[in-house]
């Protein structure tokens, strides 16, 4: 099997695993405990927090560890929405139409059950949110703007710095979901100018089950997981010490090796894009050509069932993903496919190929050898089904 789905998740780097291991057993204490066991664990969490803070160029007490990127998004959006409404009464939230479900469904929930007003920002056909659109949409009643750093389905990188600048000039809180971006893009929060930023470790060779949220000092935020006073009273629950250690180590390695990793995947990615568009009829690149995650290639094929293509690829030994990925055979074009204006006949036929440190040129060669035939096969099955 050849794994080409690094945007879904990545294997844990063995160096990360080594850093985590002692905290399962040898140093298993609860960071909240008074005794030495607790002190050792607390120190590990504090060191991890300092490490993450230095990678993000922020203060350690601006880092909240969570259980995943989705939880970070929830804490950021819910926590700030409640806090700001309490403070100023503002109840309008702006977000792009191409956000991850962790953001869109959280917003829909706030709209349905909590009386917030959500304004969805259109994206262009490449999936980008323009800072000008954000500026136009902001009004007196706006509480938060949330725009993702890089899109998981189509790899498009948003002009986050410019959007942050717009928000800051209007004194509006700006959150970005950087779960996909962190593996390859700069995450210096001072240079980006964001107020809150969500991260998840398993997208950059860390373990699943741990995330972090950067919250700029002074940002109004209410906890939504209540209990003990962990994480500065913002996220109750005994800290997951080994995973937090793993998060920090994975992020450290990512920042150190980012350029090398990008230089490894980008030419391979470019070969895939070139070859697919050249050899497969009725194929299109989704997302932006330039402003795109370096490991990310995504396409749509007209009149192809994307799920079926994934099954055919899997059977041929290649693990990929699709914007309509669905394990229950009930595919619908994703909201991202709709947001970038694709019709159903195109939007159902999406394919995402994402590369990583273990991808070799030979992997790409063999993938490109089988893909055109499988697309053809899937297309035939879709069009000939009445025979």
């Amino acid at each position: 099997m050849i794994y080409l789905d690094y945007s879904a998740t990545t294997p844990v780097d063995s160096r990360v695993l080594d850093a985590m291991t002692p905290f399962f057993n040898a140093s298993f204490g609860n960071p909240s405990s008074v005794h030495r066991y607790g002190q050792v664990a607390e120190s590990a969490v504090d060191s991890a927090r300092e490490m993450v803070a230095s990678m993000l160029n922020c203060r350690p007490d601006e880092i909240i560890f969570t259980s995943c990127g989705s939880e970070s998004d929830n804490l950021a959006i819910r926590g700030a929405a409640y806090a700001i409404r309490e403070r100023t009464g503002a109840k309008r939230i702006l977000a792009s139409r191409a956000e991850h479900p962790a953001v869109t469904n959280t917003l829909k929930h706030l709209e349905k059950y909590e009386g917030f007003l959500i304004e969805w920002l259109d994206v262009d056909e490449r999936g980008r949110v323009s800072p000008e659109k954000v500026a136009e949409a902001i009004c007196e009643d706006t509480a938060i703007v949330s725009v993702m750093y890089a899109n998981n389905e189509i790899g498009t990188i948003n002009p986050i710095k410019e959007i942050a600048k717009v928000c800051r000039s209007k004194n509006i809180l700006f959150h970005t979901d950087a779960v996909q971006a962190a593996a390859y893009l700069p995450i210096d929060v001072q240079s980006l100018g964001v107020d809150m930023m969500s991260l998840g470790a398993h997208k950059f060779y860390g373990p699943k089950g741990v995330g972090a949220l950067f919250v700029r000092k002074g940002t109004p935020l209410i906890s939504h997981l209540t209990g003990g006073g962990q994480e500065f009273n913002l996220r109750a629950g005994t800290q997951n010490v080994p995973y937090i250690v793993g998060f920090a180590e994975a992020l450290r390695l990512t920042v150190m090796e980012r350029e090398r990793r990008a230089a490894h995947v980008k030419p391979l990615r470019d070969r895939i894009i070139g070859a697919v568009l050249e050899t497969i009829p009725d194929s299109r690149l989704t997302g932006d050509w330039e402003s795109r995650l370096p490991h990310h290639a995504s396409f749509v094929f007209k009149d192809v069932d994307g799920n079926l293509l994934l099954a055919l690829l899997d059977a041929a030994g290649f693990a990929c993903s699709s914007g309509s990925a669905c394990k229950t055979g009930n595919p619908e074009p994703s909201e991202v496919m709709n947001a970038i204006g694709l019709s159903r006949e195109w939007g159902l036929g999406s394919l995402r190929v994402t590369l990583g440190v273990q991808t070799t040129p030979a992997d790409v060669d063999s993938f490109l050898k089988v893909l055109p035939g499988l697309v053809e096969k899937a297309r035939k099955l879709k069009l000939n089904r009445h025979d």
Binding site: N307, L308, A315, P331, R385
Partner: protein, 354 residues
């Protein structure tokens, strides 16, 4: 290694089929169809509820085989559901499992299995296939006659049968449950399914009411000689041989003898009038690929649950139709159901009763 796709439903039979195929040393891939459900009834549709899908997925995981769900919603609605509705519109009692097996399982799904590189597709049907000396493939009844499902497979051609495997047909049902248990499959104790999958556990009449209310036009109930006895509330609500629920006062019990879609009438008569000693069937499939040259003796089954009856079968129109003449009159010969011909365990062919 030879690859086999197992069509899985989340039930015990197809689960055991997957286990058996695996035991036989093949490379196995599980596939499940996402079929159509009435909007809003997705959770109750029998064979592809999220629950049965989760079951099938668990079985595949337990057996450590790949598992894929194929979207067949549109093709199912366009073929099976349409066929079902059209059949009732013609005054017949259609059997949608037949068209589903022909167009969905053994065409749509088989095409997908072959595209995946499989040589065979296995199902959990109780039936058997053997290779004859003449190079042809024979379709036989299951070892467990009480569970035999070869009736719905009479639509198989040599081309399809060549790719078909029916691993559970060699075993009695209790043995199949035991095999599922032995492999620790979570479906071992699931109860057998009965009704049509897309009726969502509902009566077909209420399905028609929701989806084809225009078909349910009241009309006359008449005797064979045209005497009007009462009014019916739509042809599809009645089946041949039905006695109860006619709403007619009569000194002798009356039975539905036939339905006339053109005049929207139901014809009733006494028990003595019920039954016919012959029938004609259309769209006949001969499993061997060739119609027999002349009339032949066979045991004929006129619905899935009917007992087979001795008859002469006579091919007509190059074998596309047959006339069946029973030794003794048969009750409830119903247009739209299949007549299937057997000689012992061997399935010769079958067609749709007109």
């Amino acid at each position: 290694m030879t690859k086999v796709v197992v069509a899985m439903s989340g039930g015990v039979d197809s689960s055991a089929a997957a286990a058996l195929i695996l035991e036989q040393g093949y490379e196995v891939v599980g596939m499940m169809l996402r079929l159509w459900s009435e909007p809003g009834k997705e959770d109750t549709n029998r064979c592809c509820t999220p629950d049965s899908m989760a079951q099938a997925r668990r079985v595949a995981a337990k057996l450590d085989i790949p598992f894929y769900v194929i979207d067949a919603k549109d093709v199912f609605r366009e073929t099976v559901v349409e066929y079902f509705l059209e059949g009732y519109a013609r005054g017949e009692t259609p059997n949608p499992c037949l068209i589903c097996n022909r167009k969905i399982r053994w065409t749509f799904l088989l095409d997908h299995a072959l595209a995946l590189g499989a040589e065979y597709m296995a199902t959990g049907h109780y039936a058997r296939r053997t290779s004859g000396e003449d190079g042809r493939v024979h379709l036989l009844r299951a070892v467990d006659r009480s569970k035999d499902q070869s009736y719905v497979l009479h639509i198989l051609t040599q081309e399809k049968l060549k790719h078909a495997l029916f691993p559970v047909g060699d075993y009695p049902k209790p043995e199949i449950r035991r095999i599922a248990e032995k492999h620790g499959l979570p479906t071992a104790s699931r109860k057998d399914s009965q009704d049509l999958c897309f009726l969502a556990g509902d009566d077909y009449r209420s399905f028609l009411q929701r989806n084809a209310a225009h078909m349910l036009q009241p009309g006359e109930i008449v005797t064979r000689d045209g005497k009007v006895l009462g009014e019916h509330n739509g042809l599809p609500n009645y089946t041949i041989g039905q006695r109860k629920g006619l709403g007619i006062a009569s000194p002798v019990p009356l039975y539905v003898l036939g339905k006339d879609a053109v005049s929207n009438r139901i014809i009733v008569g006494t028990q003595e009038e019920l039954g016919s000693s012959e029938l004609t069937a259309r769209d006949v499939n001969w499993v061997s690929g060739e119609a027999p040259a002349g009339s032949f003796r066979a045991e004929v089954k006129i619905r899935y649950t009917a007992k087979e009856a001795e008859a002469w079968v006579t091919p007509m129109d190059n074998g596309s139709r047959v006339q069946v003449r029973f030794d003794a009159p048969q009750r409830d010969v119903t247009a739209g159901q299949a007549a299937v011909f057997y000689q012992g365990d061997l399935l010769i062919g079958g067609g749709i009763i007109i």
